[in-house]
């Protein structure tokens, strides 16, 4: 990690954002009709309300790398002939500021899926072009459990880590890409000390708050790939899934859910093939011409949590496909979520 660190007065955040936006597209947590989302920052639009205080955006930052819907190819059919037109969008460089430590970790989880061979071209293109600037969580909430995955909200990671402390934004490049971006900001950033007392205090305070959170001691230890069949066959899935209404909220707000569907839309001028997020909670997720292997919500519900806590770790050296951002805890219509599942199925470790 680079030891160099910079800062800028929080009051001058606009200057920082404008300088960033001058070099590339910049995405910030911006309020839209009462909710905070990562949206493109427009220095000319004075109505945009940047919300650095919002802990989690509703849609996670994965949206920037794996958008909800994107074109794959278009086709023209004429008689017996088909023409394939590659109309995938190629992105230009962009930066995203305000990513929390949990979302930053989610990119590593998505990378293992999309950047493994054969590489997902669109995702790789966005990863290559995107600079992630994280922001430490000064006020974590009760729904947070990133600690269970070894994430330190006080050292958020990404290409550049940022903190808000003592009325300043602190800025520390971590990767070469982060260094390069920082160089372009020499005019707005001021040199600072990495072990500045105020910054150290802020980090300490974040860790102290996290230690007080109710899910601070959540353990996922019992979710081991070796216990795959045992966990799969647990009788608890039935009662846990009773509350599930089969919507896709948890999967769509989740920063690590990566399942997608490929669909065709007939525009009248041709066929647009696009891919979009899909949810294993949906009844038609695995529907085939000859039937559906998951006929009830119990099976669909189980699939989601098995994937996150058992299947994914089995394929990825024990890494869970969850980062503890707490979005599903806050958003589930029935308040059924991964923590309740982990505690019910995980057994003794959480008593």
């Amino acid at each position: 990690m680079s030891s160099r660190i910079w800062s800028i007065d929080l009051e001058k955040a606009d200057e920082l954002f404008n300088a960033l936006a001058a070099g590339q597209r910049l995405y910030l947590p911006i309020e839209q009709a009462g909710q905070v989302q990562f949206k493109e920052y427009d220095p000319a639009d004075s109505k945009q309300k940047v919300r650095l205080d919002a802990l989690n955006t509703v849609r996670s930052a994965k949206d920037l790398f794996f958008p909800q819907s994107e074109n794959m190819a278009a086709f023209k059919r004429e008689g017996k002939k088909i023409e394939i037109i590659d109309n995938r969008e190629r992105v230009s460089p962009f930066a995203i500021f305000g990513v929390r430590a949990c979302d930053a970790r989610s990119f590593e989880i998505l990378d293992r899926v999309f950047l493994s061979e054969p590489v997902d071209v669109s995702y790789a293109d966005r990863r290559e072009n995107g600079t992630v600037i994280t922001l430490a969580c000064n006020e974590p909430e009760e729904t947070c459990f990133c600690e269970a995955f070894g994430i330190d909200a006080a050292e958020p990671g990404g290409d550049i880590s940022a903190w808000i402390a003592d009325g300043k934004i602190w800025w520390q490049p971590i990767t070469a890409r982060g260094e390069a971006l920082t160089e372009a900001l020499a005019d707005v950033l001021t040199n600072a000390e990495p072990d500045d007392e105020k910054l150290v205090m802020q980090k300490k305070q974040i860790r102290e708050i996290i230690a007080q959170l109710p899910l601070h001691e959540l353990s996922l230890e019992s979710f081991q790939p070796e216990r795959l069949k045992e966990i799969f066959d647990s009788p608890k899935w039935q009662e846990l899934s009773e509350a599930c209404i089969g919507c896709g909220t948890c999967t769509f707000v989740c920063p690590t859910c990566q399942c997608y569907d490929i669909r065709d839309y007939d525009t009248g001028n041709g066929v647009q093939r696009y891919r979009c997020w899909d949810s294993c909670m949906y009844s038609d997720f695995v529907m085939m011409a000859h039937g559906n292997p998951r006929t009830s919500q119990v099976e669909r519900f189980r699939q989601r949590f098995m994937h996150k806590l058992v299947y994914y770790p089995a394929n990825n050296e024990g890494v869970y496909s969850c980062v503890g951002c707490g979005r599903c805890l806050a958003k589930c219509p029935s308040s059924m979520n991964i923590v309740k599942v982990a505690k019910a199925i995980g057994g003794e470790a959480n008593v």
Partner: protein, 290 residues
């Protein structure tokens, strides 16, 4: 950073990667009616020849844009470099549409997907027993022809094939006239119910397998409807086969074909990437959700 040999690196490289999700054009050059609901489509690249290289047991995504896209096993042997064949049963939106088309129709095709049968590894030098039911012959036919084209690399070959009726037997000319004529190759046909003019065996595949009472020095390749696979496997075990001797090929809903869309998993394995070919003892370690 990158281990492939395309000669590019970094940013530029990403753009140069072949997109596994981007299809190419395939042309249907001829269509053979096999049974009342199965047709075999011969597909070539627009300039002729096969669309891509593959191994027996691998699959390809065929699509008619706007109609649908689905995974089909390639039924021709990769030893044939002139065309690819797909035996397709009429059973859904896309297949209904395919059954209406005429030669020269273009399709989109991407692949190959999946692991295929271990024809160059585990199967080499072995006596082989192929057991298929109905349209389940499609993926096995690729292996059968591959082995017959490399006849000296394999031991004896037995083929047990059953269908509902004699008119439902696909690839009938190969079954009746080509394969039985070859060296050390036996074909055992059966149909579910007695029928006028049928002097062959009548009965379900699992019981026929038991009746035939094969010697245990064989590696089995099994494909058919899930229920047939289940009972045939039981029959095989009854006559003394071990699950490690049996390979089967699975099918689940697939979309991407590259293990990323999250649809075709059985436990932690993706059928499109880790399968579709599994050794039967491997399936025991996976949850019963297929």
């Amino acid at each position: 950073m990158c281990e492939c040999s395309c000669g590019h690196n970094g940013h530029e490289h990403i753009h140069e990667h072949k997109d596994a999700l981007m299809p190419v054009i395939g042309v249907v050059t001829s269509i053979r009616i096999d049974t009342p609901d199965v047709k075999t489509f011969r597909v070539t690249a627009p300039e002729g020849g096969i669309c891509f290289d593959y191994v027996p047991g691998q699959c390809a995504m065929l699509s008619v844009p706007g109609v649908g896209e689905a995974m089909f096993s390639i039924t021709s042997s990769p030893t044939n470099k002139d065309y690819m064949e797909f035996s397709i049963k009429k059973c859904g939106t896309l297949t209904d549409w395919l059954h209406e088309i005429e030669p020269e129709q273009q399709l989109t095709i991407r692949g190959p997907y999946g692991n295929g049968f271990p024809v160059e590894a585990d199967l080499k030098g072995q006596n082989l027993l192929f057991i298929a039911g109905g349209i389940g012959l499609a993926p096995l036919r690729s292996v059968i022809n591959y082995c017959l084209n490399n006849r000296d690399s394999y031991g004896s070959i037995d083929i047990v094939y059953g269908a509902r009726s004699s008119s439902d037997l696909v690839h009938i000319e190969e079954l009746k006239t080509v394969w039985p004529e070859l060296k050390d190759t036996n074909v055992h046909l059966t149909i579910d119910r007695p029928e006028e003019g049928w002097d062959g065996h009548v009965g379900f595949v699992p019981s026929y397998v038991k009746e035939l009472d094969f010697s245990l020095d064989k590696t089995v390749l099994l494909c058919g409807p899930p229920i047939m696979i289940k009972f045939t496997l039981a029959s095989l075990q009854e006559i003394g086969f071990d699950k490690t001797q049996v390979f089967t090929t699975m099918e689940l809903k697939m979309k991407c074909g590259v293990g990323k869309c999250g649809r075709c998993n059985i436990g932690s394995k993706y059928v499109c990437k880790d399968g579709p070919v599994f050794r039967c003892d491997e399936l025991d370690e996976l949850p019963d959700e297929y």
